[in-house]
Structure formats: structure tokens, C-alpha cells
């Protein structure tokens, strides 16, 4: 089946098997391997990308379902060599260690602030419930997201 999407601002058009998951399409066909896979039960959120601005777990979407959509992955977040404020916040607050959850976590965090620009700590924690991290204990991730919200507000 044919799928035509815009990924990080670039138009893509490919022939894919109907059962191809969006995450596999992005990694294997488009060649963007920044989006990771961490599970087989849609539990971990490592594969989170923005689909028309909304965060989705790209292992739960078929590539063909994304037909016509705009997709943003971790590779498309920084612009003109400038880190996105969320990326910068993760760096400043040591919100990543092994980096495996990071692409998904950052995309989920961007989407979270989009929906709720001034969240409480509890709201950040609830909002990131679908994204697992084994390294950070979430402490610095939560701190980074709150700092990014703060930075955007000021």
C-alpha cells in the first residue's frame, strides 16, 4: 500500500506492507533511527512521536493510518542548530542517562506542555505515565519539564 507523509518537514512517499507499524516505517524505510522501540505491549513510550502535533506511540499506529499526516521525530525537533527548549531543559537538568527513553520522553514532554503549558509536578508525572525510563528515576525528567514550562512562561 502507498503511504505519503511529511516527516520533519520532508515529504516521504513509499510502498509499504499494510501491517507495517509507523515506528518500523520511520526506522527502516525513512531511515530515522532516533525513535526507539522498548517493548511489544505499547507500554514503554520509547517510540513516541508527534503525529499532527499530538504525541502517539508509533508502535500502536500502522504506517498507512498516518497517510497524509505531519510527523515530528526527535531528529526534527531542533531548528537551525538550536536545541528546542525541551531538549535544552533535559540537558541542563540531566534528564537523560543512557538516552534510550529520551527521544520518546522528550516528544511526550513537548506534547504535554502543548496541552498544559503550566503543569504542576503531579500533572507532569501523570502526563508522562506512558513513558518509561529505567535510568533517571524520573526525578530530573520531571524537573526538566517543569523548568521548560517555567522558561516558556517567563
Amino acid at each position: 500500500m502507498k503511504v505519503a507523509v511529511t516527516v520533519n518537514g520532508t515529504k516521504q512517499e513509499h510502498e509499504v506492507e499494510p501491517r507495517t507499524l509507523l515506528v518500523h516505517y520511520l526506522r527502516e524505510v525513512v531511515g530515522l533511527t532516533g525513535t526507539n522501540i522498548g517493548c511489544d505491549t505499547s507500554s514503554c513510550g520509547a517510540c513516541t512521536v508527534l503525529l499532527d502535533g499530538q504525541s502517539v506511540k508509533s508502535c500502536t499506529v500502522l504506517a498507512v493510518q498516518a497517510d497524509g499526516a505531519e510527523i515530528t521525530t526527535i531528529e526534527g525537533l531542533a531548528s537551525d542548530g538550536q536545541l528546542h527548549p525541551m531538549q535544552e531543559a533535559f540537558r541542563q537538568h540531566h534528564g537523560l542517562q543512557c538516552g534510550y527513553c529520551t527521544p520518546g520522553m522528550v516528544m511526550a514532554a513537548v506534547s504535554l506542555l502543548d496541552e498544559n503549558p503550566a503543569p504542576t509536578e503531579a500533572e507532569v508525572r501523570e502526563g508522562l505515565e506512558g513513558n518509561l525510563c529505567r535510568c533517571t528515576g524520573y526525578h530530573n525528567i520531571v524537573k526538566a519539564v517543569l523548568a521548560a514550562a517555567e522558561g516558556a512562561a517567563s
Binding site: 511489544d40 526527535i74 540531566h94 543512557c98 529520551t102 508525572r125 518509561l132 526525578h139
Partner: protein, 770 residues
């Protein structure tokens, strides 16, 4: 040094994501076949036959390989002290011994084809009785290796003193289960193998020590050391489960040879939950005795460790548990015996703390039980028995020598930071009022061994390039720890070359032939110190070279580390840059190697206070606060240290409250994916209150101990203790981990009707602050 420096490796991870094995796009792996393992669906069975014909005909299948095809010797356990007759086949041949054990491998053009074809391999099993429980395994009614005649893989017995508790006014004993958990790094195992035209094998693998993996590949495949290169690209967490290399991964080298094509394998999470080594898994008996004034006089720890089906590192870890038997306490008489047995379950490996959390959990539970029995506040009982600050180096009754410490300050600092007295007052108020949600307060103190058990060393090379930048080659293998930043800080401090001009190279055995990797909280105190020493040698050499450049006496030369150049004392205008100095080194370049061998391991320590709220109607436990003091000697980068502590705390809390790998009675796993396994999210955890403390060690020139595992070791018993403490009014003195709502609720119900704290049986102990 000692400053908060953000990580130099982050921009790469944050903009493009890391390069893990699954995403590796190198020319050598072009056209790689995908390997898919067919795995046992039954815990213990004889294999009557394996029908591969249907799979062989499936779309995209290049080959199906079974154990009968593999012409390599099965391997005995890597560690020589383990029973060497318990051989592990490459792929199960006659018998399967746990659900998930590989029985065949399918090679296909794409991963999806492999998943489909693996379903078409039909092993015919004749079921055997499964032994899932280590206590049953010890009884030996069912043997995993009938020819061996025992399920015991390792016994460490040092003789039992039947008079150990003689003269004690109070003796308490309890059976404790330190449950099996899954390390769950977010990246599962992944490996790729390719043979070059030069007859060399390259293996890319997600490992914590590339050099150790290389040695295993060389030995198991019967190759020469020069024939094998192992590369660890970015590694998405390890936590002990990725020490070395797994049998399946070594087999990829053999498969790539046989197929004449590169082969790549990336396991699924479900496969990972069944095959990546599990952690913990000990059944313990603690017995503690002492006087009613709070003095502990004797302690016995008996350990039965679950090795899983094929003994690996997990079977050896009771040795580490034994080393830390008495924890932070000066107990005059103590002993520890251990046994490790095989069961029809996933083999166990190291998991964050690796044997020491089990020791801490045991002694901390014992202290609580003792406190409850004599009716004394548990923090006070601990304080009375701590090893005194002037007692170091201190040798325990089991023969472990602690380097340095100040346990009393750690405990008092943690109690003060938590507001212990106020917490006890609030607890008393809720108990008095009979409130539905009760407060539990748990205190732990711990000491652990890092870079142990026997002293070891690490290699480093520091090179200054002709352009004045530097490169560090390290035998450590970071997978989240931030060595790129930390090692660069060490070099920048000594050489004055800015951080962004220092590159760190690790995890490629062609570039770094010697190294022992990252595990056991060893990296900074061995690898970091080696970098420090190598940089020092570079400075010595550079002094001579700078003297040539500036035509001065080497003794008159000054290295200005702020400016990053050399000058003659008193003449700051005549300078030689690092580029000048490197150029003066000529052909050979300016590079120095160093190895640091520590004289002994080090012993980080600390104290944790956990506060939980327990809903006495539903049994739900909420961790409200955790306050930790973790002293790992001198700190290089507080940002990294805090990160290590946070991650460790979360994993410790998770074991205490939620996580457990479970099997049914037939050995079928019931927690084989991340939907069923209770891996916590941000929503279940609070922010952590981490208090700094630094007591340098004399063991190395940086004064540093390891921080990787402390959080886990302290947090687990503190949180477990807090849950039990909340249940004290119901007469509960012990509850095994994890403290799931069901388990807590049952304990309350069992305590009798009606289950309200006000009318429950009187608490024994724990309440002296009331």
C-alpha cells in the same frame, strides 16, 4: 572538579537519538540476515524431536538451525567456583530447562519474516516435572541435571557455631524472601556479527564490557584474540544484566560464518523478560540476638539463592551478600552460609547492587525485628550498634575490611533532614485517631562494597593531538553514567584543555584492547583514576617538551590550567600551547598509558528514611517521601552523582513496592512483558530528597568510591521497613516484598477483626517516639 557540569554527550542523544545496535547502519552489516530464536514454551521437558520443515519452506527463510547442527562444545558456567558439570548447550538439544530457552534459530531476510517462521518450528516435548521454587530445588526431588546428582551449583559454608546466640537476652528469627526481579534496561539485548575478508569477526553488542565479551567470544568460538573485535555502540542501560555476553549472542558469530553473511539479532521485550538475566532471588533466614538495652550481640544469615536453569553470575552473588553480612553494625559474632541452586527458571545475573542489596535487606529487617521485640525505636537501635567513626579500617566478623566511614553522621543527617521526630508525632496522631490512611516510617543504614570483591584495576590512555585537542581511551564502558563528561573533566583539570576539545573513546576492542568495563560501581575509582594518572604522565612528558619549545629548564615551567598553556615561571607572556607541545613530540605523538590497580575495594555507605502512606482499607501503599544520605567519597560531578542516586533509589523503591518476576507452579512466567511486570512510571514515584555527604577514601588518589548502586541498596530496606512500620498497630512485624495492595490488605485482614489501627493488637516496639 567537584562542580556541576552538564553532559557533553547529551546534544547527540537529544537531537538524533543514540546509535544502538538495532539502529546501527554500517557497511559491514549491509544485507545482514535477521536471527529469530525459537524458544521453549515449557519449563522442563525432554525434546523428542524438532520439526523444522514447515519453517524452512516459509517466505524469506534462508535457514533453520537446531542444536544438532551446532558443532561447538557446550559451556560450563563461566565462574570456576560454580558446579562445572552443569553444562549449557548452545541451543537445547535433549532437554529444555526454562521457558524461553532457545531451541532453534531461524534466519530470514527481514525481522517480520523471522517472527512468522519461528511460529512454524514444531518441537515435540515430553514434559518433566518442573521445579520453580529454590527450597524445593534444594530438596532435590526433581533434578535439572540428573547426571550431576544435585541441584546445588555452589555452597559457601564456613562452619556453624551452635553457641552463636548463647547468652543473648533476646533472639529473633525470620524467613525473608528477596524476590526475583527483572533488570529491564530500556534497550533489550541486541547483537550483530560480521566476518571480514581478512578473516576477522566483528561483533557489535549491547554490553557493559566489550573486552570481556571479546574474551568470551574468542574462548567459546575457538578463535585467536587478534581475530575478534567487539564493539559496544551506545548501550541503553545494563544494570548488571549486560555484563559480558550471552550464549545466543556468541552464537551469532558462528551463524554469520556458516551463512557467509552478516547476522543481526534484536530480541523482543517478551524474549528479554524470559532470557535477560534476572536479579536477586534469595530466600534468607535471619537470626539476631542481643540485650534488651539495644545491643546486638550475634547475627546469622543463611542464604538460598535461585540460580535459574543454568548457573551464571547470579549464582555467585551470595559471595557478595556474605561480604556485607553485618552491614554498618559492630556485631561481635556473625556468620553467613550460602547455597545456590538451579531451578526451571530464567538464569539469574547481577542486578544493580548484585548481592549487596540482599545483605542490606536482611540485616535491616533483622534490626527492625530486634527493635520491635525489645520495644525500642528502630533508629535508636541502629544508632547504638553502628561501627564508630574512629574504628576504621574496620574488619567485620566475616573478614571484610571497610576502608572509611562515618555511619552515625549519615544516620543523624538523614533523620534530621526527614524531620524524624515530627514524622513520628504525625504517625502517633493518625494511629490515635484511627485514620484510614496510616503513616509508615522506615529507616535504613547501609554500607556496600564497590570495585570488589577483590581489588581490581583499569587502563587508560590520554593523548594530546597535534591540534591541541585531547582524546581519552578508557577501559570502562559507560551506558548512561556520563563518562564522556567525567573523564573529560579529569583531563581538563590536569591539562587545562577545555571540555569540548576532549574526546572519550571506549567500548571498541581494536581501539581499547584492555579494559574491564562498567559494573559494580567501579568506573570512577579505577577507570577515572587511571585517566587521572595517564593525564599526570602526559603533564610530566609535556613539561620536557615545553621546555624544548620555550628553551627553558623543565623545572621552571608552569602549566597554567586556566589558560591551557605552558609558560616559564615569572614570564607569563612566552607561552607554549598544547598544540606546540604535541608538535614537539614529533612522530610518536604525545600519549601516555596508565593502569591503576587499587589496593582494596571501597565501601560507600549511607542512611535512608522512607515515608509511606498505607490505605488500611485497600492495602494501597504510596511512597510520600524518601530522604537519602549517600556517601561515596569525594564527588567529581554532583550532577552525575545525583542522577545515579535517583536511578538507584527508583529501582530500590520498585523492588520494595511493586516489582516481582513470577512463575506459576509449572514454571510458566506470568510477568513476561511490560504490561504484566510492574515497572514503575513517573506517576508512582515522588521526587527524591538527596542530601550530600563526602567522606574520602584513602584507597585512591581521587578519594572516590562508587555511587552507581547505593541508592538501590539503601532504598529497598527503608521502604520495606516503612510499610511494615505502618502495619505495626495491626501486630505485623514482617511482610515480604513487594508490598502489593493485596499482600498488605491480607496482612491487615489476618491481623483480626475489626481491622482498625486503634483497636488492633498493641504494637510491639517501633513506637518509642509516641
Amino acid at each position: 572538579m567537584g562542580t556541576r557540569v552538564v553532559r557533553t554527550e547529551d546534544p547527540r542523544f537529544l537531537t538524533g537519538g543514540g546509535t544502538y545496535v538495532a539502529g546501527l547502519r554500517v557497511p559491514e552489516l549491509e544485507g545482514a540476515l535477521h536471527a529469530t530464536f525459537v524458544r521453549a514454551t515449557i519449563a522442563h521437558a525432554r525434546i523428542a524431536s524438532i520439526d523444522t520443515s514447515e519453517a524452512e519452506r516459509a517466505h524469506g527463510v534462508v535457514a533453520v538451525v537446531t542444536g544438532a547442527d551446532v558443532d561447538l562444545e557446550p559451556a560450563p558456567p563461566e565462574t570456576p567456583i560454580l558446579n562445572q558439570q552443569m553444562l549449557r548447550p548452545w541451543l537445547a538439544v535433549d532437554t529444555v530447562r526454562y521457558v524461553g530457552e532457545p531451541v532453534a534459530v531461524v534466519l530470514t531476510d527481514t525481522a517480520a519474516q523471522g517472527a512468522d517462521a519461528a511460529e512454524l518450528v514444531w518441537p515435540d516435548y515430553e514434559p518433566l516435572p518442573a521445579v520453580v521454587d529454590p527450597e524445593a530445588a534444594l530438596a532435590g526431588d526433581t533434578l535439572l541435571f540428573p547426571d550431576v546428582g544435585t541441584n546445588v551449583a555452589l555452597e559457601l559454608a564456613f562452619g556453624r557455631d551452635e553457641a552463636l546466640f548463647e547468652g543473648c537476652e533476646v533472639v529473633v528469627s525470620e524467613r525473608l524472601v528477596n524476590q526475583r526481579v527483572a533488570p529491564c534496561p530500556l534497550e533489550v539485548r541486541a547483537t550483530a556479527a560480521a566476518w571480514g575478508d581478512d578473516g576477522r569477526l566483528t561483533i557489535w553488542t549491547s554490553t557493559q564490557n566489550a573486552q570481556g565479551a571479546r574474551d568470551a567470544v574468542v574462548a567459546r568460538l575457538g578463535l585467536d584474540e587478534g581475530q575478534v573485535r567487539v564493539v559496544a555502540p551506545d548501550v541503553g542501560g545494563g544494570f548488571g544484566a549486560k555484563i559480558g555476553i550471552y550464549t545466543e549472542e556468541i552464537l551469532l558469530g558462528w551463524l554469520a560464518k556458516r551463512m557467509g553473511r552478516p547476522v543481526r539479532w534484536v530480541e523482543t521485550r517478551t524474549e528479554s523478560m524470559l532470557n535477560m538475566g534476572h536479579g536477586r532471588g534469595q530466600v534468607q533466614r535471619v537470626t539476631i540476638g542481643g540485650r534488651r538495652d539495644g545491643t546486638v550481640e550475634a547475627y546469622r544469615l543463611e542464604v538460598l539463592a535461585d540460580a535459574g536453569a543454568y548457573p551464571k553470575l547470579g549464582a555467585v552473588l551470595p559471595y557478595m551478600t556474605r561480604l556485607m553480612t553485618t552491614g554498618t553494625y559492630a556485631i561481635p559474632r556473625a556468620e553467613c552460609d550460602t547455597r545456590s541452586v538451579v531451578t526451571n527458571t530464567t538464569p539469574t545475573m547481577a542486578y544493580r547492587g548484585a548481592g549487596r542489596p540482599e545483605a542490606a535487606a536482611a540485616i535491616e529487617r533483622a534490626m527492625d525485628l530486634f527493635a520491635a521485640e525489645i520495644g525500642m525505636d528502630p533508629a535508636e537501635v541502629r544508632r547504638r550498634n553502628l561501627v564508630a567513626p574512629d574504628a576504621f579500617p574496620y574488619t567485620t566478623p566475616v573478614g571484610t575490611t571497610y576502608d572509611s566511614g562515618d555511619y552515625r553522621t549519615a544516620l543523624d543527617t538523614a533523620l534530621a533532614a526527614a524531620g524524624y521526630d515530627d514524622l513520628r508525632a504525625e504517625q502517633a496522631r493518625r494511629r490515635q485517631a484511627g485514620e484510614r490512611v496510616q503513616l509508615g516510617i522506615g529507616v535504613s543504614t547501609y554500607v556496600e562494597v564497590t570495585a570488589g570483591p577483590t581489588p581490581s584495576g583499569e587502563d587508560a590512555r590520554v593523548e594530546v593531538r597535534p591540534d591541541g585537542s585531547a582524546v581519552v581511551y578508557t577501559g570502562t564502558s559507560p551506558h548512561g553514567q556520563g563518562h564522556h563528561t567525567a573523564w573529560a573533566m579529569i583531563v581538563a583539570d590536569r591539562l587545562g584543555i577545555p571540555l569540548d576539545r576532549i574526546e572519550v573513546i571506549h567500548g571498541d576492542t581494536d581501539l581499547v584492547p584492555r579494559g574491564e568495563g562498567t559494573m559494580g560501581s567501579r568506573s570512577l575509582q579505577l577507570g577515572g583514576v587511571a585517566v587521572h594518572e595517564a593525564a599526570g604522565k602526559v603533564v610530566d612528558r609535556a613539561r620536557e617538551l615545553a621546555a624544548e619549545v620555550l628553551e627553558a629548564n623543565p623545572d621552571d615551567l608552569v602549566l597554567d590550567t586556566d589558560a591551557g598553556h605552558w609558560h616559564v615561571a615569572g614570564t607569563p607572556t612566552a607561552t607554549a600551547t598544547w598544540a606546540d607541545v604535541a608538535a614537539a613530540a614529533g612522530e610518536d605523538g604525545l600519549a601516555e598509558d596508565a593502569r591503576f590497580d587499587a589496593a582494596s575495594p571501597t565501601f560507600p555507605f549511607g542512611a535512608h528514611v522512607a515515608v509511606v502512606a498505607v490505605d488500611t482499607e485497600t492495602g494501597k501503599v504510596t511512597l510520600e517521601r524518601i530522604v537519602t544520605v549517600d556517601d561515596a567519597g569525594r564527588i567529581l560531578n554532583p550532577l552525575l552523582v545525583e542522577g545515579q542516586r535517583h536511578g538507584g533509589i527508583a529501582q530500590g523503591v520498585a523492588q520494595a513496592l511493586w516489582e516481582e518476576v513470577r512463575y506459576d507452579g509449572d514454571g510458566n512466567p506470568v510477568t513476561a512483558n511490560l504490561a504484566d511486570y510492574a515497572f514503575p512510571s513517573a506517576a508512582e514515584l515522588p521526587s527524591f530528597e538527596v542530601v550530600p555527604m563526602e567522606t574520602p577514601t584513602p584507597v585512591n588518589p581521587l578519594g572516590a568510591k562508587g555511587i552507581g548502586e547505593s541508592g538501590t541498596i539503601g532504598a529497598t530496606p527503608a521502604v520495606q521497613s516503612a510499610v511494615v512500620d505502618a502495619l505495626a498497630p495491626f501486630g505485623v512485624r514482617h511482610l515480604d516484598m513487594p508490598a502489593t495492595p493485596e499482600r498488605v490488605w491480607r496482612a491487615i485482614v489476618r491481623a483480626g477483626e475489626p481491622p482498625t489501627p486503634a483497636s488492633g493488637p498493641a504494637a510491639a516496639g517501633t513506637g518509642s517516639a509516641e
